[in-house]
């Protein structure tokens, strides 16, 4: 069983479209994250939810909207896609919000905006 799964794995779409990426974790964790890995390979935090509540919201365009229907799922919706949104998006989870918890990452979603 995959601990943190993401769908789709690959997403190719046109500029201006709206798309969603789904993330699910079966680890029983309370906290989930979205990261963006840009063309320079740096992983940067975008959002974090704890028990369905937003706890981290970095400087991200408001075209990006996370949604957490329950603590096992954290989906990422992107409106009006732009070329610069092309990246690999990783979902992750951790047990809670205590210090030094280990994060578990999903396999990533490779988004290409044409």
């Amino acid at each position: 069983d995959t601990a943190v799964s993401q769908t789709p794995k690959y997403l190719v779409t046109q500029m201006g479209n709206d798309k969603s990426i789904k993330c699910e974790q079966n680890l029983g964790h309370d906290t989930m994250y979205w990261y963006k890995q840009d063309s320079k390979k740096f992983l940067k935090i975008m959002f974090s939810y704890n028990n369905k509540e937003l706890i981290i919201n970095e400087t991200v365009p408001n075209r990006f909207s996370p949604k957490s229907p329950d603590k096992a799922h954290l989906n990422l919706h992107i409106n009006s896609l732009e070329l610069g949104d092309s990246a690999v998006y990783f979902c992750a989870s951790s047990p809670g919000t205590r210090k030094r918890e280990t994060q578990y990452f999903g396999p990533g979603t490779r988004l290409l905006v044409l």
């Binding site: 740096f42 992983l43 210090k99």
Partner: protein
């Protein structure tokens, strides 16, 4: 301004030898450091961590060294195995807050049989 940097994009090592991966940081407030390993088409997986109160942490073949004065950490893999071939990311945070880790851009390690 990247606060965590891995200046070697790639490293090639012979099987059985030592692999040394390096990471530099600029923020003196960082007090918790991690190394992740990433295979192609997979997400990063946690490997080893170190708190700033220590200068060394060892787990099997993996040892992380921290030099606070130089703002430098390194990961040693001894002996290196072909299965260690992957991208290695270092990350740093203040207070060990997982969601506030700053990642480096990775070093691709290739271990040749």
């Amino acid at each position: 301004d990247q606060q965590v940097k891995q200046n070697s994009p790639s490293l090639s090592v012979q099987e059985g030898r030592i692999s040394i991966l390096n990471c530099d940081y600029t923020n003196s407030m960082f007090d918790y450091f991690l190394w992740y390993k990433k295979y192609p088409a997979e997400g990063p997986t946690f490997l080893i961590s170190i708190s700033s109160i220590k200068d060394k942490n060892e787990d099997g073949r993996f040892t992380v060294f921290l030099n606070k004065s130089a703002k430098h950490l390194s990961l040693h893999i001894v002996p290196s195995q072909p299965g260690d071939s992957a991208v290695y990311f270092c990350a740093a945070s203040v207070g060990g807050n997982a969601g506030k880790s700053t990642f480096g851009d990775g070093t691709t390690l290739t271990v040749k049989p």
